[in-house]
């Protein structure tokens, strides 16, 4: 195949960039508290300033997640969530919005369904690609083949501990953007954004990445503003999960709106209107 794959995630980030700002990426787990709510919440994020939507697959052993996301995904599984429902969530959001919708998943559920089959169904649902917290490029041969075949983005993670060699390798392996982990730790809200984040982003750019987005510990508009100054996108997870837990879809919409203010979008819109 000689046809160039068009990355939906890259396009969404580039649209934000054209507006002179970083992109906002909002995470919520599929099936929490139920499948329809996660579709509604995804749409609410997209309509209130999120450029990309990250939908997590609830998994029994989420080693990169802190207690808030663990509690939500454990509840989703207890409520009967099935992995194939994630395609309904992706399709529901992409049908209603222009946001790029990625799936964040630990690898075993993908492996169990079959990497090719999973990829085919994700592409069919209109998904942009996968974020893979426990899959490193070293183990990703099947995923390379399937993501090329179905035109999906491969978002791998880099961390403050990544060596220059691994940064270069991971940047080369990724498509769409590279997910920079801001801190050595797991998901969860933190009082401040780690100072290591800016260095990881700079190093990842230096390793050749066009688009680097920062996640872990980002929970309010100030964090967003801080990161938007040096990264191409800002990823918020735990704070949104806490919002849907405590206030439902309405709270997700409100928080997304607040977060996007940190990107400078409100100012841009005012200018347009004026």
């Amino acid at each position: 195949m000689t046809e160039q794959i068009t990355s939906k995630s890259a396009a969404a980030i580039d649209r934000a960039k054209a507006e002179g700002r970083a992109a906002l990426i909002g995470y919520l787990p599929a099936g929490y508290p139920d499948v329809q709510s996660s579709i509604d919440a995804g749409i609410a994020m997209a309509r209130n300033g999120a450029d990309l939507i990250e939908i997590g697959i609830p998994y029994s052993d989420p080693v990169m997640d802190g207690s808030v996301i663990q509690a939500a995904t454990t509840e989703a599984i207890a409520n009967g969530f099935r992995v194939a429902s994630v395609f309904d969530v992706v399709a529901g959001i992409t049908a209603a919005t222009d946001a790029a919708v990625l799936v964040m998943t630990y690898w075993n559920p993908v492996m169990r369904m079959g990497v090719d089959e999973f990829s085919r169904r994700l592409a069919e649902a209109g998904g942009a690609g996968l974020i893979t917290p426990d899959l490193i490029p070293d183990e990703a041969a099947e995923w390379f083949a399937a993501s090329d075949k179905y035109g999906l983005d491969r978002v791998f993670l880099v961390a403050p501990s990544s060596t220059p060699e691994r940064l270069a390798m991971t940047v080369k392996a990724s498509r769409g953007f590279v997910y920079a982990v801001s801190i050595m730790g797991v998901t969860g809200t933190r009082a401040s954004v780690s100072s290591s984040a800016e260095k990881v982003v700079a190093d990842t750019h230096a390793a050749g990445a066009e688009r680097v987005c920062v996640g872990l510990g980002v929970s309010n508009a100030n964090h967003v503003r801080e990161i938007a100054a040096y990264a191409d996108g800002v990823i918020v997870g735990t704070a949104l999960v806490a919002a849907i837990r405590d206030g439902g879809v309405g709270a997700v919409a409100q928080l997304t709106k607040n977060l996007s203010a940190g990107l400078g979008r409100a100012a841009a819109q005012n200018t347009t209107q004026a």
Binding site: S60, V63, G66, A84, N108, I136, V158, S161, V181, V186
Partner: protein, 470 residues
């Protein structure tokens, strides 16, 4: 160079390979056939590289090897004995059964071999803190022991439910200076304790080494943990040759994660004449779904960093395992075992709770040895293998079998007393006022007070013993 046999090949692939001069003994990882690898967050890759690098250098360093040998001899009490179980053998078709006495090691199981090795590596890496997971508490106790010996801070993750059930081991770890963290996430079992240990590791990797307790997980853990347990098989091979003048016909071990087993098997993998058996926890019977027989009934998947046989549902969610033995209660298995199963070099079979407990009682009464319930799975398997190998033979005593008695059963007294109906309805041993029940109540009590349970409970008299997670 002989190419290794590939996974999913014919039943006799391993035999043909060995007869062709191949060696299975020293597989270095990261892959064992299609198993193993590093299915891990990028954040931990640098730490895994550091462990691997330190381990490779240490393995080639006479000073490190001498240090380890000295600790094994003068601290653990190695070499452990190889004891012929003559009266027990009568129940195994007359085959001669030899017990590799890992139960006699300091802390009461094979676990000490691995923790001493890894704690020495932690020192070499300049780490000041070790973390560990534990099911019944035995790897936690061993880790706390090694940490105390070498002056390291130690934090042990343990399912909240296990903390309540094994309050005595919680106290034991605390007496040794360790902090025990009750895990309330997920199913609150061993696998969740591993998850929380990994979360700790990723957050504290600069100061901390994750002292994983079994031959599973991401590379280099499976090969490294095996290396530290190889002493079991190396000793047993010399001892059986001394005692019988020939190699055994079979070797047997129990399999949870599989560390005691791979340590014993290692030395015999290249001896095509030696049959090798691993016995998984069949729980209430593999047909009931309540078991921990990952190889027998699982299918390949990734958990905790390795691709291996895994108990999982149609969605790839991990299924909770069940076994009377906490140490075998793990839904996956070390990747080298998955490979050895596929190529047919090792035969893996399930043993039910009932079969294991029958063998437990038999060993108590024929040999005066109380085995860990984990090891009792290997004993039950050896009885079956003994009958199988001696069937129709004129001199069954020509058949010799080594069983890895991986741990002692003092820790299992309460479980056994309940199983054999030795308790009255108040939980007292019948005819006594000695309660085997642990105090009920919140986890904080079980984990917070070292003295909370140490006065009247029968297991309070027990020594640290046994093992967990195999």
């Amino acid at each position: 160079m002989v190419d290794a046999p590939t996974a999913n090949s014919e039943e006799n692939a391993a035999d043909a390979f060995l007869h062709g001069g191949g060696s299975l003994r020293n597989a270095t990882g990261p892959y064992f056939g299609s198993y193993g690898g590093r299915w891990m967050p990028e954040s931990l890759i640098a730490a895994l590289d550091e462990v691997q690098d330190t381990f490779e250098k240490a393995k080639a360093d006479p000073e490190f090897l001498a240090q380890l040998k000295d600790l094994n001899k003068n601290y653990s009490g190695r070499p452990s004995l190889l004891t012929e179980a003559k009266r027990f053998s009568e129940h195994a078709g007359g085959a001669r059964i030899f017990l590799k006495r890992e139960d006699l090691n300091h802390t009461g199981s094979h676990k000490i071999n691995n923790v001493l090795g890894q704690a020495l590596l932690a020192k070499r890496m300049g780490k000041t803190r070790v973390i560990a997971e534990t099911g019944a508490g035995q790897h936690g106790v061993a880790s706390a022991t090694a940490a105390a010996l070498l002056g390291l801070e130690c934090v042990v993750y343990m399912g909240a439910e296990d903390c309540r059930r094994q309050a005595l081991n919680v106290a034991r770890m605390q007496l040794l200076g360790a902090t025990v963290v009750p895990v309330t996430n997920g199913s609150q079992t061993l696998k969740d304790a591993i998850n929380d240990a990994l979360r700790d590791w990723v957050s504290n990797v600069d100061t901390t080494h994750y002292l994983l307790g079994t031959a599973a997980g991401a590379h280099p853990f499976p090969a490294m943990v095996r290396f530290f347990h190889e002493v079991i098989g190396d000793e047993a091979r010399v001892q059986i040759l001394e005692q019988t003048g020939k190699l055994p016909d079979a070797v047997c071990a129990c399999i949870g994660g599989g560390s005691n087993a791979i340590g014993l098997f290692h030395s015999f993998l290249d001896d095509a004449s030696v049959k090798i058996y691993g016995f998984e926890a069949g729980g209430e019977g593999v047909e009931t779904g309540r078991h921990a027989a990952a190889i027998t009934l699982g299918r390949p998947g990734v958990l905790h960093g390795a691709r291996s046989y895994l108990m999982q549902d149609e969605d790839g969610q991990t299924i909770e395992s069940h076994s009377i033995s906490a140490g075998l209660d793990y839904p996956s298995v070390g990747p080298e075992h998955s490979y050895l199963a596929d190529i047919g070099r090792v035969t893996y079979e399930p043993i039910t709770d009932t079969e294991a407990m029958d063998a437990f009682r038999l060993l108590c009464r024929t040999e005066g040895i109380i085995p860990a319930i984990e090891s009792s799975h290997a004993l039950a398997g050896a009885i079956k293998v003994g009958h199988r190998l001696t069937e129709g033979k004129e001199n069954p005593g020509d058949t010799t079998i080594i069983v890895n008695l991986s741990g002692r059963g003092d820790k299992d007294v309460e479980t056994a007393a309940a199983w054999f109906d030795m308790l009255d309805e108040d939980g007292n041993v019948k005819g006594t006022t000695l309660s085997t029940r642990k105090p009920k109540g919140p986890t904080e009590r079980a984990t917070g007070e070292a003295s909370a349970t140490s006065d009247e409970a029968i297991p309070a008299e027990a020594e640290a013993a046994g093992k967990d997670q195999n």
